[in-house]
């Protein structure tokens, strides 16, 4: 801030005539006189008047308050024990890594779902082999996830008629006792007969 020259100060107070001032002191006097005129031109408002103006302002609507809250910056502090954050990280990683939990296959109009279930306690493997696998093993492998001897599997197959058998431990051909519909296989055994329907959407 610039200090007012004492001589200029005395001229402003009326103690001295302006003629005693130097050129630079006169410039400062002129600037101060202009500033004083500008201030005197402003409307006079008291502190009380300004407070009352704020008080009388209509309240902000809830929507505007929410919008302002959403758009303004806020400091958010979450306090979590490290053990819980570690557990959350493990769960997220498991969800990302575990296979077969996705949305599943997209079925065409001429495709349906077939579910196979067989009770084979002590079996090491159970395959479903049939016309939909060209009678080759390995395409439909059942699983015993519960280790209770019940082997299960779900597959997408073309709509229509299919024949199949279970192959237990890679060598024993077994007719599905739950199929309910059978046809002679021409080799002295019975194939289960399966009709796959289109999925109703």
């Amino acid at each position: 801030m610039k200090h007012i020259d004492p001589q200029v100060h005395r001229v402003l107070d009326g103690e001295l005539p302006a003629e005693v001032l130097t050129a630079s002191q006169r410039e400062q006097l002129a600037a101060l006189t202009r500033a004083a005129e500008a201030l005197s031109a402003l409307p006079r408002a008291s502190v009380a008047a300004r407070v009352m103006t704020e008080v009388r302002r209509p309240p902000e609507s809830a929507g505007r308050r929410v919008a302002r809250w959403l758009t303004e910056r806020h400091a958010v502090t979450i306090s979590v024990r490290p053990i819980w954050s570690l557990a959350l990280a493990v769960v997220l990683a498991a969800v990302a890594v575990i296979p077969g939990r996705g949305p599943g296959p997209i079925l065409g109009d001429q495709e349906g779902i077939a579910q196979f279930v067989g009770r084979f306690p002590g079996a090491r493997s159970v395959d479903v082999v049939g016309s939909f696998t060209d009678w080759q093993s390995g395409a439909v492998v059942l699983r015993d996830d519960e280790h209770d001897g019940i082997w299960r599997g779900t597959v997408v197959l073309p709509v229509g008629q299919h024949e199949y058998m279970f192959v237990v431990d890679g060598e024993r051909w077994v007719t599905d006792p739950l199929a309910g519909r059978y046809v002679d296989d021409g080799f002295g055994r019975q194939n289960a007969l399966l009709f796959v329907r289109p999925i109703v959407r």
Binding site: G100, R101, G102, P103, G104, P105, L107, E111, I113, Q115, V129, S131, F132, T133, D134, W135, Q136, S137, A139, V140, T154, V155, V156, L157, G160, Q161, E163, W173, G180, R181, Y182, V183, D184, D185, G186, F187, R189, N191, L193, F195, R197, I199, V200
Partner: protein
Amino acid sequence: MNLRCGILLVLTAAAPLAAQGPRQRLAGHVPPATLAVLDSIVQDAAGAGLPTEPLIQKALEGGAKGEAPARIVSAVAASAAQLRSARALLTSAGESPPSDPREVSAVAAALSRGVSPQLVGSLSAALPGEPTGPALHAVADLVGHGFAEDSSVELMVEGARLGLRGLRFLDVAAAAVQELQRGRSHSAALASVRVLLPHLPAPPRAAPAAVSRARRVQPSHERP
């Protein structure tokens, strides 16, 4: 340019699969000594306009089950004869040749389940222009559970008259069998199902969780 390259690649990859004849599909899966005979049975069937896929499947099945060469040839020949009978029955029932291969296969399978040939005519008349295979299998289901064949056919004809089509006939048989398992007599079971026609319960749908785990099965000859 990229699209053209993609199409070309797909066609190049698909060409060998499309060109796979019966001999190529059977080679390595059946005893070598049977290859020529099986190929000739399949070629004869193709020449006669019969579906050949059931014959190839029967040969593959025999090979997978470790059957003797003579038994495999015999089973495939029997299948060819059955397809011929099925096609002849469909033609005599008024279906104009060439018959739908799936329909011929379904009728042949129903005949091998013991359905009498006369039924093909009865059900074809009740279902003009529609596949009769599912209705025939439904009759076979009922006969397999001790229902009289003529009563079973009447039930299917009634279902057809009320608008049932396709695999819904299997639901008719399933409903009758369920009534039987509840302790009703055969005639009472048929009567109670007849009352429900054509609004029979459909089989339960697969649970979404099971569907999400389902894997698409590709027969070995369609695998790249």
